[in-house]
Structures are given as structure tokens and as C-alpha cells.
């Protein structure tokens, strides 16, 4: 313990040793274990530091007390606010008394007056609570500052997220509208993505060379959307390997992902009419450890020498280890991830890389299903909406420095895109 903190502790200990707490006294800042008999007759009977110190001038009052339900919450919480008057002895603590619908007041807490506000939780919704604040100074209670009543309630909608709700609704409607268009038979143009077009070539190459295909679905669990997208693509790749008669290896780092991958591949082989070609032992679990998994997959690459490697999903530091080892065995590599920090490594080491949203678009590309292509177009349209918002925001914020209406527009856009 540092020297600076010992002296006040010693003084406090000595002060406490002079007095003892009256029975039944609630403890808190501003009250001290007081004298039993020597404080009888003391006007500040609720507790005092020492009766040798007579109460000073009246403690400063608390003003403008208000109590309000905490907005946008699950309920049971209220917030009190107050200000301190300038006159009188400054309070060193504030005692909060709470009573519910006519019940006896109970102590809810002690707070520093400078806080100016305090939140109470764990209350019952729909019950009126009355709060009384009592300022304390030097162990002497001041006059209660009046009370405020409030009824806590739960919110049915988080108003701080209204802007996000509006934006999400617009984006969803745009995506659904394009899906509807696609279902009605409208032709939708989507540009070619080299990495996705190369999937067929990669599987064909592996079949010709008689070497396996290695599919790595990332290192995260099934709650990660990139892993889900990877499973979707695995189904498509498995259909092709079943069709071509190639050997498919899928090492996994999570048990749940392994189970899902086994089902996806099995169903794909069944749908392709090749249930006999399905090998459950090829879709296996290695380890949860990040670098243990990288070492295991590297071993598979060096021993089995796959002709085609797919790295699709969430990757972290092991991405370059996997990609470089794959390069060293001469495999054609198609990678895809939305992890921005790993994209440069894949771009440097792999033949084709699906960048960010291209990973999520791959399923639509591989299936050519109108509904999926429609959602892709809708996604692009949604992106256009966001680009327009960004341009409007930048223009408004820039012009707003000199033109108030633009500043108001910028504030509105900030409000729309802000999330509490």
C-alpha cells in the first residue's frame, strides 16, 4: 500500500474508534458508527461523526427533483435527477428513500450529490414509486428535498434504433422486390466473377489428375454467417465432385460444422445419384486450436497433394500459412472471405479470390437460381441506396459548415444512421 493512502486511513480508524454505531442504523456514506449514549439528546439523532461537533448551518437543499422512466429499456428502471442549491453547507452524500404505492419508505441507496442523477433498477412495471432525496453533510441530515413519483414501464420499441429500422426495412423491401422480379421471369444481368467461374475448372482438373479436392470451410463455428455461406457453396461443390467422380476432403475445426458438412455433402451426393461415392471419413474433425488446425491441414496438403483447394469462410492468422502451403503443392486455389485483414494474403497466394460480398454471392452464381440472382440484384440496389446516402451525407456535412439548412440535413442523416 502506498504511503499516501495510509495517513487518512489511520485518522479514519481513530475517529471510528471514538464512537460506536447505534443499533439498527443503516450504513452508508455520511453515517459513521456513532456513539451509543453520548449522542442521546443530540439533535442529529440519526447519526453523527461525534457529538462534540454540533450541527452546522442547514445543509444545502436539493432542487428540481425529477423522476422519469428509463426509455427504450426492458422495464423496471427509473432515473432520478436533481440540482444542488448554492446556499447552505454543501452536502457530501444524498440518501435516496423509495416507497411503492403507499408502502413504508425504504432506503434505496446513497449517492454523491455531484452525480446529479441516479438510476434505480429491479422495480415492478406499472407500480408507482415515490422517491425522496435527503442531503447529508458531516453526518447530519438536511431537510428532505421533496419527492417525485414515477411509474416504470417497458418499451415496446427502441426509439434510438428507429433510423436503423427504417433503413433495414427499405433494404429488405428492395431485396424482396428484386426476388419477386426474378420469380416472374425477368432476366437479371450479373457480371462474371472469375473465381466462381473457375470452380468447374478446378474440379475438372482434380478429376483429370486423379488427386483429391480439399475444401476448408474456415475456422469459425456455425453461428458465423461466413461459415454458413461456405456450407452453401460446399453443397454446390460436392454436387460437382459427385458428378465428376472426384475425391472431396473437408477437414473441420468445429464439431458442429463437421456435422453440418457431413449432411450437406451426403445430400449433395444423394441428389447427384452417387450415394455410393460418399465417404463420411473424408469429412472429419481435426482440432479447435487455430494453429493446430493449420498444422493439420498443411499436413493433409503435403501428404495428399490435392489438385484443387477451396478456402471459403472466416480465416484469421492461419490464412497465409494455408494458402502458401497450398501453393507449394501446386494446387489451384480459390479463396473467399469477408475478413478484410486476410484478403491481401489470399490475393497474393491464391489463384482466385472472392472478396467480401462475392463470397455470399457465390451460391447464387453457382446455382443460377432466379430467386438467388434476384436477391443479388437487390443487394446491389441496396448498395446503391447506401452510396446515395453517403454522398448526400458528405455533401450536407461539407456545405453545412457554411449553410445552416445543409447542417440540419446532415444532422437528420446522422440521426437516421445512428444506433443507440
Amino acid at each position: 500500500m502506498r504511503i499516501a493512502s495510509i495517513a487518512p486511513l489511520l485518522l479514519w480508524t481513530l475517529a471510528v474508534a471514538q464512537v460506536s454505531a447505534p443499533p439498527g442504523l443503516a450504513s452508508g456514506p455520511g453515517t459513521q458508527p456513532g456513539a451509543a449514549d453520548s449522542c442521546s439528546g443530540c439533535p442529529a439523532a440519526a447519526g453523527c461523526l461525534t457529538c462534540a461537533a454540533p450541527p452546522a448551518a442547514a445543509t444545502a437543499r436539493l432542487l428540481d427533483i425529477s423522476a422519469a422512466d428509463v426509455p427504450n429499456d426492458v422495464g423496471g428502471a427509473v432515473e432520478l435527477a436533481w440540482t444542488m442549491s448554492e446556499e447552505g453547507v454543501p452536502a457530501d452524500s444524498v440518501q435516496v428513500l423509495r416507497s411503492a404505492a403507499g408502502a413504508e419508505p425504504e432506503e434505496a441507496g446513497w449517492i454523491l450529490p455531484a452525480a446529479g442523477s441516479w438510476a434505480d433498477e429491479g422495480l415492478r412495471d406499472g407500480v408507482e414509486y415515490t422517491y425522496t432525496l435527503v442531503p447529508w453533510a458531516g453526518g447530519v441530515a438536511g431537510a428532505p428535498a421533496g419527492s417525485a413519483s414515477v411509474v416504470p414501464a417497458a418499451s415496446w420499441f427502441h426509439m434510438g434504433r428507429l433510423g436503423m429500422f427504417i433503413l433495414l426495412t427499405i433494404l429488405t423491401l428492395v431485396i424482396l422486390a428484386y426476388i419477386e422480379r426474378a420469380k416472374r421471369g425477368h432476366k437479371l444481368y450479373v457480371r462474371e466473377i472469375a473465381g466462381i467461374s473457375a470452380v468447374d475448372d478446378a474440379v475438372g482438373r482434380a478429376t483429370e489428375m486423379g488427386r483429391p479436392i480439399l475444401y476448408i470451410p474456415g475456422i469459425m463455428d456455425m453461428d458465423d454467417i461466413q461459415t454458413i455461406a461456405s456450407m452453401v457453396i460446399l453443397g454446390r461443390v460436392a454436387s460437382k465432385t459427385a458428378e465428376y467422380g472426384a475425391n472431396l476432403l473437408v477437414p473441420n475445426t468445429r464439431s458442429v460444422v463437421m456435422s453440418v458438412a457431413q449432411e450437406v455433402v451426403k445430400e449433395a451426393y444423394l441428389a447427384a445419384g452417387r450415394p455410393d461415392a460418399y465417404r463420411r471419413e473424408n469429412i472429419n474433425y481435426l482440432t479447435d486450436d487455430q494453429f493446430g488446425y493449420a498444422a493439420g491441414v498443411d499436413g493433409i496438403m503435403v501428404r495428399q497433394r490435392p489438385a484443387a483447394i477451396f478456402l471459403l469462410g472466416t480465416f484469421y492468422a492461419e490464412s497465409l500459412i494455408l494458402a502458401e502451403t497450398g501453393k507449394s503443392v501446386g494446387a489451384i486455389q480459390i479463396a473467399g472471405t469477408a475478413m478484410v485483414s486476410q484478403l491481401p494474403f489470399f490475393i497474393a497466394a491464391c489463384d482466385y479470390t472472392l472478396i467480401g460480398e462475392e463470397l455470399f454471392a457465390a451460391s447464387a452464381y453457382l446455382s443460377h437460381e432466379p430467386k438467388l440472382l434476384g436477391s443479388l440484384k437487390g443487394q446491389d440496389a441496396a448498395k446503391l441506396v447506401i452510396m446515395i446516402l453517403i454522398l448526400l451525407g458528405v455533401a450536407a456535412a461539407t456545405l453545412g459548415t457554411a449553410w445552416p439548412p445543409a447542417a440540419k440535413a446532415a444532422d437528420f442523416l446522422r440521426l437516421l444512421t445512428h444506433v443507440d
Partner: protein, 219 residues
């Protein structure tokens, strides 16, 4: 029915998670947490699946003397030893499990991570070729950032007469910092926004049952 039940469950769970973000009122606020808790319970139980699979696969390799079967006893042996140490003496600091973890697993993990240094060099040598103006621009930026992120960049800069006394004695570091804070940040944001939209679209497809291939079988 085979497809309907999982699609229905996907829809309900997806809508609960979305609603709990916008509706603080019970039960929505707690349902999202419950679903996450249930998922964690399922994932914890699934650890046994992985362990059983590991033992099955490697036992089969040993039994049928498949190619490279000699590695499998090492895997099974390591698995069983660690498990016995953990169950027998616990996993607290200083126990055999912790000792094996700290002296074997940790250095091996650090070693694998260290491979990145070598792989970065070989990948950079192979990939950073000035084949067109975009690749050249990338190359020049990479050089500046590589020099600016280490002290030697400005040591070299200050060898130029007058550079040390100029108003920018750490010019290389400043340019590297500008590249990180302006073009890099713009690119990162663009990819993040695009990827996030991809996530939204993919999630909506799954919630509304448009994307079903993760369930297997034909649509």
C-alpha cells in the same frame, strides 16, 4: 415436412433475433439471449462428436493400415494423455495438463504463427510483380508502408542532406501513416460495407427460406 420444419424454425429464430434488437419488452429481450445460451449448450455437447470422430477416423486408419497410418497412434496417444491429465489432476496452473500445455502446445502454436514471417516473404516475392499500373501502385504503397512502419525508413530518409533538419524529419513514417489513414481506411470501409450487405442479404435469404442448400437435398 422434412424441409418445412427446419425452414420454419429458421424463420422463427431469425425473426426473434431481429426483433430482440428493436423490441426491448419482454420476452423479446430475453429470447435472444436464451437462443444464444441454447446454441452454446448444443455446441458444447457437439465437442463430444468431434472427439468421437477423431478417434474413429484414426482407429480406422490404424486398423486398415491406410497410407501414413503411423501418424494416427501419435494423435490418439496425445489425445488420451491430455485427457487423462486433465481429468486426473485438473487443469489449474502447475498441474500436469497445464505443464504439457505450456511447454508443448503453446510453443507449437507460436512456431506455427512464426511461419507467417517466411510465408509473407515468399508470397511477396512471388506476387508483387509490376505487371500493370495498378500493381505498380500497390508495389510502391507497399514499399512506403513497409519502410514507414519500421525505424529504418526514417533512418534512411535522414541520410539525405537536410532531411533531418527539415520540417518533416519523419517523412516516411508520416506518408505511411497517411496511406493507412486515408486510402487504406477508405478501402477497408468499402469492403466492410459490401460484406455487411452480403451478410444482410444472405441472412434474409435464409430466414425467408429462399436459400435452402445448407439443409441439403433439392429445393
Amino acid at each position: 415436412m422434412r424441409l418445412f420444419v427446419p425452414l420454419f424454425m429458421t424463420f422463427i429464430c431469425g425473426m426473434i433475433i431481429i426483433l430482440q434488437f428493436f423490441v426491448p419488452h419482454r420476452p423479446f429481450s430475453t429470447l435472444g439471449e436464451r437462443l444464444t445460451d441454447w446454441y452454446m449448450i448444443v455446441a458444447s455437447a457437439a465437442i463430444f462428436l468431434g472427439a468421437v470422430n477423431l478417434l474413429q477416423v484414426h482407429s480406422a486408419r490404424i486398423r486398415f493400415r491406410q497410407k501414413n497410418w503411423q501418424y494416427s497412434p501419435v494423435v490418439i496417444g496425445g489425445f488420451l494423455v491430455m485427457m487423462a491429465a486433465g481429468f486426473g489432476w485438473g487443469v489449474a496452473d502447475g498441474k500436469p495438463f497445464d505443464w504439457m500445455f505450456q511447454t508443448m502446445v503453446v510453443p507449437m502454436g507460436a512456431t506455427m504463427f512464426s511461419l507467417l514471417a517466411f510465408f509473407v516473404a515468399s508470397a511477396a516475392f512471388r506476387a508483387f510483380r509490376s505487371s500493370n499500373w495498378r500493381a505498380t501502385l500497390l508495389l510502391v504503397s507497399a514499399f512506403i508502408v513497409m519502410l514507414g512502419r519500421v525505424p529504418i525508413g526514417d533512418v534512411i530518409w535522414r541520410l539525405i542532406p537536410g532531411a533531418a533538419a527539415s520540417s518533416h524529419p519523419n517523412l516516411v513514417n508520416e506518408i505511411a501513416e497517411w496511406i493507412m489513414q486515408v486510402p487504406n481506411m477508405a478501402g477497408q470501409r468499402a469492403v466492410m460495407i459490401g460484406a455487411s450487405l452480403g451478410v444482410v442479404a444472405t441472412s434474409l435469404r435464409m430466414i425467408f427460406g429462399i436459400e435452402r442448400s445448407y439443409l441439403g437435398g433439392s429445393d
